[in-house]
């Protein structure tokens, strides 16, 4: 996993609540055995006018010229609800997103983002509202500083928190499987004490 330190990028506002993983990446694009090739299908049903994805929907916020190249997604509450498909963060990441800001995330999606190195930042509802008010009127650029847990935008500055180990893993690009495999003796000792039925 790539290390995450600081990131400055353009914000695209997607002011819709309960955006589920079926909307982020519809099921017909899950039939791959590789981790690549999902970005082009991100938000397919909203982003394209046709089934084949050849005609962009000009009204969908991500397609607007002023938001091209955005790398920070400002999202509505309960973002990423629904299925456990990690294809959703893969698609967001491949499109170019590094950070997602929302007032709340669905649990599985949040964990999946951390595991692939896409930074989900939870801010308060008031803070998210402030950003939604700013975003449509200006090309809003934010700086996310992970080591200091801050999001800054001009004079505005917000703080966020992550679980200690998740923060460490993102900052250091930890191979989580390798990290746990180093504790194999502890796992084996646990197994030795398990009841027969288990």
């Amino acid at each position: 996993m790539e290390k995450f330190n600081t990131h400055t990028g353009l914000v695209v506002p997607l002011d819709i609540a309960n955006v589920d993983t079926d909307q982020i990446i519809p099921k017909q694009f899950l039939q791959k055995t590789e981790r690549v090739g999902f970005g082009v299908h991100l938000f397919h049903d909203s982003r394209y006018l046709d089934h084949d994805g050849t005609q962009e929907n000009p009204d969908f916020v991500i397609n607007k010229p002023e938001y091209k190249g955005a790398s920070i997604l400002l999202a509505g509450e309960n973002f990423g609800c629904g299925s456990s498909r990690e294809h959703a963060p893969w698609a967001l990441q491949e499109y170019g997103f590094k950070v997602i800001l929302a007032s709340s995330f669905a649990d599985i999606f949040y964990g999946n983002c951390i595991n692939v190195g896409l930074l989900p930042i939870q801010l308060s509802e008031t803070e998210i509202e402030q950003l939604f008010k700013l975003a449509p009127n200006a090309q809003l650029t934010l700086t996310v500083d992970l080591p200091n847990n801050t999001v800054t935008c001009g004079e505005l500055s917000f703080t966020f928190s992550l679980n200690e180990f998740q923060q460490y893993s993102l900052e250091n690009g930890v191979d989580s499987v390798g990290w746990t495999l180093d504790k194999l003796d502890t796992i084996k000792a646990f197994e030795a004490k398990m009841p027969a039925w288990q």
Partner: protein, 471 residues
């Protein structure tokens, strides 16, 4: 003498599976059972190969083909080349890593969350994971069961553990008894209607109360299955004699003395009397009526004797806007009686409602209409959850009841719940579906889903619209 703090069932499951809680690290939990399928596993296997790592406990891992298989043919390429490619990859991966696979046409094949319980792979007091959000189903046994992403699938493959933050706890008590004709699906939809679609985010929910205790194991699975639909990490029901009787004798379940010891341990799992929960919700079972969703998330649900709500009915601005968007997508007008909504597709199946009791309930409704046929303009399909369910249903003649009435009797699989195979709705189709998600585009781009019980779906197929069967 030490006085121990009263614990919830979740806390007991957590404690008995805690491998390590090292300073500065997310706690490490042991995983007893890992269910896998073709869609969320291939990239995890690829990473194992890349790092030259084995699957640590192939015997704790079970694979099935369910998500994108055809329900018309057992041929591996019957649902298209993309699906076939994933299915073949699962076959190769299971062979290379020594994992038991129930592949096309195998007698144990079926939806992961249907076969786990019916084979005795699902046991109380265990942690069960699967790369699928409806893994919460297994919580019906008092197992801590939850969906995981592909990176976590890889972590479980390599280590048989997972790192998990401790969730908050929520108790949902359903007091008293439900009225005649009210199903487990109605109970869980009514709960989600109360909490909203994100009401339990960050929580593990424990369902309890007389109405829950009175449920059969299959009904409990329906309730726990939809825990994710209001954001819960997992859903739990305390194991009791109903649970032990169900598990005993199942193919993969412990036998003899080991089973007796297991039951003794499982009896200790229920939450202590004085245990405290972070949140509590109480419902009166007698107030629960048959439910139908009207919107585009499972929280947008109402009793079948109700009307389609108006944005004005919601004070929360987010809910108000969600209502506006949902009515537009669903092409519904506020004030319309739910029983006046007509459908052109009916789907009875999915890990929520495809077990033998579901099929019996649907067949029972069909029989009540005494010889009446599925409305000519409606396509109605019945997709059993597994080959065992299919075989049982056929031995009881249920398939005949369905096909005589004009339903299609299909082969097991996830099918139209998510439409990864060719069971997809067309744009503008309106479906009475016994599945778990009514998201925009879930069953096909531009299609409209109403979540209902098997009884309601069967009645909609015969009458063309939703029906208050208890009126």
């Amino acid at each position: 003498m030490t006085i121990s703090t009263p614990q919830t069932m979740y806390e007991k499951l957590w404690q008995t599976h805690l491998v390590e809680a090292a300073k500065g690290e997310t706690p490490l939990l042991y995983v007893d059972r890992h269910l896998i399928h073709e869609v969320t596993s291939p990239q995890a296997f690829a990473n194992l190969r890349f790092h030259n790592r084995p699957v640590r406990h192939p015997e704790r891992t079970i694979a099935t083909m369910d998500h994108n298989i055809s329900t018309r043919s057992i041929k591996i390429d019957a649902a298209g080349e993309g699906a076939a490619n994933q299915l073949r990859a699962l076959g190769i991966n299971c062979k290379d890593f020594g994992i038991e696979l129930f592949d096309m046409g195998h007698k144990n094949q079926g939806i992961a969350h249907v076969i786990g319980p019916e084979l005795g792979l699902t046991l109380p007091g265990t942690i069960i994971v699967c790369g699928d959000s409806h893994t919460a189903t297994h919580g019906a046994f008092g197992a801590l069961a939850f969906g995981i992403g592909t990176s976590e699938v890889e972590h479980v493959f390599a280590t048989q553990t997972l790192r998990q933050n401790k969730a908050k706890t929520m108790k949902i008590e359903v007091k008293g008894h439900v009225g005649a004709g009210i199903s487990a699906k109605d109970i869980i939809l009514a709960i989600i209607g109360k909490t909203g679609s994100a009401g339990a985010t960050g929580h593990v929910v424990e369902y309890c109360g007389e109405a829950i205790e009175a449920l059969s194991m299959e009904e409990r699975m329906t309730v726990c299955n939809m825990s994710i639909e209001f954001g819960a990490k997992a859903g739990l029901i305390a194991p009791d004699q109903t649970t032990f009787d169900y598990v005993e004798g199942k193919e993969y379940a412990p036998k003899g003395d080991v089973f007796e010891q297991a039951v003794a341990d499982w009896k200790k799992l229920k939450s202590d009397t004085d245990a405290t929960f972070d949140a509590v919700l109480t419902l009166d079972a007698k107030d629960i009526k048959a439910q139908v969703t009207w919107g585009t998330n499972p929280g947008q649900v109402i009793s079948v004797d109700g009307i389609v709500p108006s944005p004005e009915d919601f004070s929360d601005p987010v809910e108000k806007e969600s209502c506006v968007n949902a009515l537009k997508y669903m092409n519904l007008t506020a004030g319309t009686k739910m029983t006046d909504i007509h459908v052109n597709k009916v789907f009875i199946g999915s890990c929520t409602n495809s077990r033998i009791e579901d099929l019996r309930a649907a067949a029972g409704v069909v029989q009540k209409y005494e010889g009446q046929q599925v409305v000519e303009t409606i396509d109605a399909i019945i997709v059993p959850g597994s080959y065992r369910v299919k075989e049982q249903a056929e031995s009881e003649g249920l398939d005949k009841i369905f096909t005589d009435a004009g339903f299609e009797w299909r082969l097991p699989g996830c099918s139209m719940c998510l439409g990864m195979n060719d069971d997809v709705l067309e744009e503008g189709d309106r479906c009475a579906s016994t599945s778990n998600r009514n998201f925009e585009g879930r069953q096909g781009r531009g299609s409209r889903t109403h979540l209902v019980s098997p009884e309601m779906a069967a009645a909609a197929a015969i009458t063309g619209h939703f029906v208050d069967l208890n009126a």
